[in-house]
């Protein structure tokens, strides 16, 4: 009987495990590559191109074929005119070849010198068309007896084309124009500022409210689980539903609930256009302050919608805390506020920091909320809304992509900070 020996060199086994792991990860990797990483790079590419939304339609060759003369006797001659044009005003089309069959009842007298004739089949090599080019190809034909007896319609055989359209996305035009326009435009800094303001206050607000709500529901009382479900619902409901509910709630016109309520209470005299007022000037005597109304309302919406997330995680963390330390503090005579300040809060710092950084980044990325509430009007245009505005409202894809690049760069900056500060064991 041989003595058992420990296996030497885990090489093959480890390799097999590695191969297995890679094969499990490969599908995910491919999907993420094609839908996240590739578009990310493509966005950089597009941002350096002068490209409009309309350029996405690939150009094609359009033709109008017509027999120009009436042929009434045998031997009468006339022109068939092919009016060929490039459907796009901007993009080029290369290597256009037109083929068409001329009816047998017409004999071909002469034709454009770019064409060749095989029987009744005409093949014309038209070369390249730049954007917007149109030209006429003339083929001279003579009528035969058969044509006089039963006139064929030359349109019965449609000319066919082969061509290589230029793809606006792949063309070699590059410029820095998108970026220079972006940085020189008057609203670049206001937009960036609004973005930061929205992100910082939205994040802080959601965290503070989440912390407050978690303190409330950390006690046990009747109806607690009902309230917990209620508190989570802003986060769970579709953004479009709650955003429109807010829009109607805050409406300044007749039928706006909040304005009507405030008027009924005598708080305000005339309706306030919450989502349409850029700023009101508050006069404190010594100094005046332009209070951004619409931006604040949008931030309140953000806080309302995302405090449940902070609430959820803070509550989970609080319920996992050991109670011993509180009992000890109780015996030592620590008051409830001291217990919160010196025991709970330090223990929550970890989750609060993680939540802050994640929420900060996600709030910065947020597009739908503001888009649905104000569409970016009244000083609420953030960078992300500006991407949409440039690319799809102004129809300048390149400019939109340039804004998206700025979004990404700012984000990368935040993400770096996040990874520098991230504690080893989060959540």
């Amino acid at each position: 009987m041989s003595k058992p020996t420990p296996p030497k060199g885990l090489g093959p086994l480890a390799k097999r495990e590695m191969r297995f792991a890679y094969s499990l990860l490969l599908p995910t990797f491919l999907v993420v590559l094609s839908v996240v990483l590739f578009p990310l790079l493509a966005n950089f590419w597009i941002s350096f191109k002068p490209i409009q939304l309309g350029d996405l339609r690939t150009p094609s060759v359009l033709v109008n074929e017509r027999l120009m003369d009436k042929l009434e006797t045998v031997g009468a001659e006339g022109d068939i005119r092919y009016r060929v044009r490039n459907s796009s005003k901007k993009s080029d089309i290369a290597d256009i070849v037109m083929t068409d069959a001329v009816p047998a009842s017409l004999s071909i007298v002469s034709f454009d010198d770019r064409c060749t004739l095989a029987g009744q089949n005409l093949t014309c090599d038209l070369g390249d068309y730049e954007g917007g080019k149109r030209e006429d190809i003339i083929v001279r034909v003579a009528a035969t007896q058969a044509f006089i007896d039963t006139p064929d319609n030359i349109k019965d055989t449609k000319p066919a084309f082969e061509f290589v359209p230029e793809n606006a996305l792949l063309s070699g035009d590059f410029s820095l124009e998108n970026f220079s326009k972006l940085f020189n435009s008057a609203d670049f800094w206001p937009v960036l500022w609004a973005s930061l303001y929205y992100t910082i206050f939205g994040t802080l607000g959601a965290l503070v409210m989440g912390l407050f709500a978690a303190q409330l529901l950390n006690l046990s009382f009747r109806g607690r689980s009902v309230l917990r479900g209620l508190f989570l619902s802003p986060y769970v409901a579709p953004v479009i539903a709650v955003a429109f509910a807010w829009v109607l709630l805050l409406d300044a016109g007749p039928g706006g609930t909040l304005n009507a309520l405030l008027q009924q209470l005598g708080v305000i005299d005339a309706p306030i256009n919450f989502l349409g007022t850029r700023a009101v000037t508050l006069d404190f005597g010594l100094f005046t302050f332009d209070f951004p109304v619409a931006l604040t309302v949008v931030i309140l919406f953000e806080v309302w919608r995302y405090f449940p997330l902070a609430f959820l995680f803070i509550l989970a963390r609080m319920q996992s805390m050991s109670t011993d330390i509180y009992e000890a503090a109780e015996i030592d005579g620590a008051t409830p506020i001291q217990q919160f300040w010196y025991i709970s809060l330090p223990q929550l710092m970890g989750i609060l920091a993680v939540l802050f950084l994640l929420r900060f980044i996600w709030t910065f990325n947020k597009f739908d909320d503001i888009f649905l509430l104000t569409g970016g009007a009244a000083g609420t245009r953030t960078l992300t809304v500006n991407v949409y505005e440039q690319a799809f409202a102004v129809s300048n894809l390149g400019a939109g992509a340039a804004v998206a690049v700025v979004v990404f760069v700012v984000l990368l900056f935040f993400a770096l900070i996040f990874f520098k500060l991230s504690p080893e064991d989060d959540a």
């Binding site: 990860l25 999907v31 409901a237 005579g333 799809f392």
Partner: protein, 410 residues
């Protein structure tokens, strides 16, 4: 023992506060429900709250019984009615008489109960700092509960009520949410019926359901093997992967939208549900993977090793041991992905042009024009909200455990 200590003062203050706040809230509630133009009597409410709190807390903590409670309620009602000049809700007692009585009693009960809970066990004498803080924190908590409940519920309340009210009527009386039940269910739910019969909401609902379920299935198919690999297998780059998965989730969707729009347009798959089915799982796989790998790590490796020893292959181990054990996590991840896909707006809005392909989010966006009554817009919002909310609240316990165990997400 001095009669008037700091606790007594605090209780009077909270009585004043809650008398005013509940006064406003109950009056508004009466206004919304009845449609009568009630006016909150803030000063009367404040004074009544003080009086009632005084009656309640002037007695030592141990002697406050049922009789004290009813006396406090009685005093509240009396002061409120007299100070407001027999218009406790701002209108003469004759209008909506029975309703007014109910609301006034409700108001008195709310204020008294709250003050009783805030002061329970303490006062009225001077107490030490600990007890003062307890009373103050009770006050803050009662305030917080009322504040959060109203702030969270108000938009949903408005959403539901507006979907049931005729727009002309609401424009004339924006605060009148009273429902006339005598007109019949068909009239009350008119906007819902019209959405399904005239605005294709049946199709949208079907599209949303199909897309969401397909996204869940696809995501799991991709994420489960990946998560298992990251959690269990050793390979170069493992650490890097498990840390950087979440990084992918931080890529803003708006940055991806332009290239995807451009490429999908040229490939002719933009205005199709397939396009969405390509994008949605790709955006959810990283989170799902992150959440699942956290859970897989928590499953004892010994169980799987036992399976390996007994001659199962890795695939069989995953299918027969890991997945059954991870069922709660799979459920919560599925629910979560379903929620993301169901609520997704940006890509549906950018990609879909044909009405028969719309998801609910996209369909509701189409209702936001002046030609469509608001009633329909809000009915659409309710239709989109109810399924996901019901599903979520039903499985909430699962979801919360799964979400908080494995990861963090926004």
């Amino acid at each position: 023992m001095s009669r008037i200590g700091n606790i007594f003062i605090l209780c009077l203050l909270s009585g004043a506060f809650w008398g005013a706040i509940y006064g406003v809230l109950v009056t508004l509630l009466a206004l919304l429900i009845s449609g009568f133009e009630f006016q909150p009597q803030v000063i009367a409410g404040t004074l009544a709250g003080i009086a009632s709190a005084g009656v309640m807390t002037v007695r030592p903590a141990g002697e406050r019984d049922r009789k004290t409670f009813f006396a406090a309620i009685g005093v509240f009602i009396a002061v409120l009615v007299i100070v407001s000049g027999f218009k406790p809700l701002g209108l003469g007692m004759g209008t909506y008489a029975l309703g007014q009585i109910i609301f006034v009693v409700l108001l008195a009960w709310l204020v008294t109960t709250t003050v009783e809970m805030i002061g329970r066990g303490y006062g009225p004498s001077h107490e030490k700092r600990y007890n003062v803080e307890v009373v103050i924190l009770r006050f803050l908590k009662s305030f917080g509960l009322v504040f959060f409940t109203i702030a969270v519920a108000l938009p949903f309340f408005v959403m539901v009520m507006m979907s049931l009210k005729n727009q002309q009527f609401l424009l004339a009386n924006p605060l009148d949410f009273s429902l006339d039940l005598s007109v019949g269910a068909a009239t009350i739910f008119r906007s819902y019926i019209e959405l399904f019969t005239e605005y294709n909401f049946g199709t949208f609902l079907l599209n949303s359901t199909m897309i969401s379920i397909a996204t869940v299935v696809l995501t799991l198919v991709f994420a489960v093997p990946g998560a298992y690999a990251v959690a269990r297998l050793k390979f170069p780059g493992q650490d890097f992967l498990s840390r950087s998965i979440l990084l992918i989730y931080m890529v803003p969707m708006i940055v991806l939208v332009i290239p995807l729009y451009a490429v999908f347009s040229q490939m002719g798959i933009r205005n199709t549900l397939w396009g969405l089915l390509f994008v949605y799982p790709a955006t959810t796989i990283p989170v799902a993977l992150y959440m699942l790998q956290g859970y897989f790590r928590g499953i004892p490796a010994e169980l799987e090793e036992a399976g390996l020893m007994d001659g199962l292959g890795r695939m069989q181990v995953i299918m027969k041991i890991t997945l059954p054990l991870a069922l709660p996590a799979l459920a919560s991840v599925s629910l979560y992905i379903f929620m993301i896909a169901w609520n997704e707006f940006l890509f549906a809005f950018m990609f879909l042009d044909s009405v028969n392909l719309f998801t609910l989010s996209r369909g509701i966006a189409e209702l936001n024009t002046s030609e469509v009554p608001r009633q329909h817009l809000m009915a659409g919002a309710v239709i989109a909200t109810v399924p996901v909310l019901v599903l979520f609240l039903w499985f909430e316990r699962f979801l919360v455990a799964g979400l908080t165990a494995g990861s963090v997400k926004g």
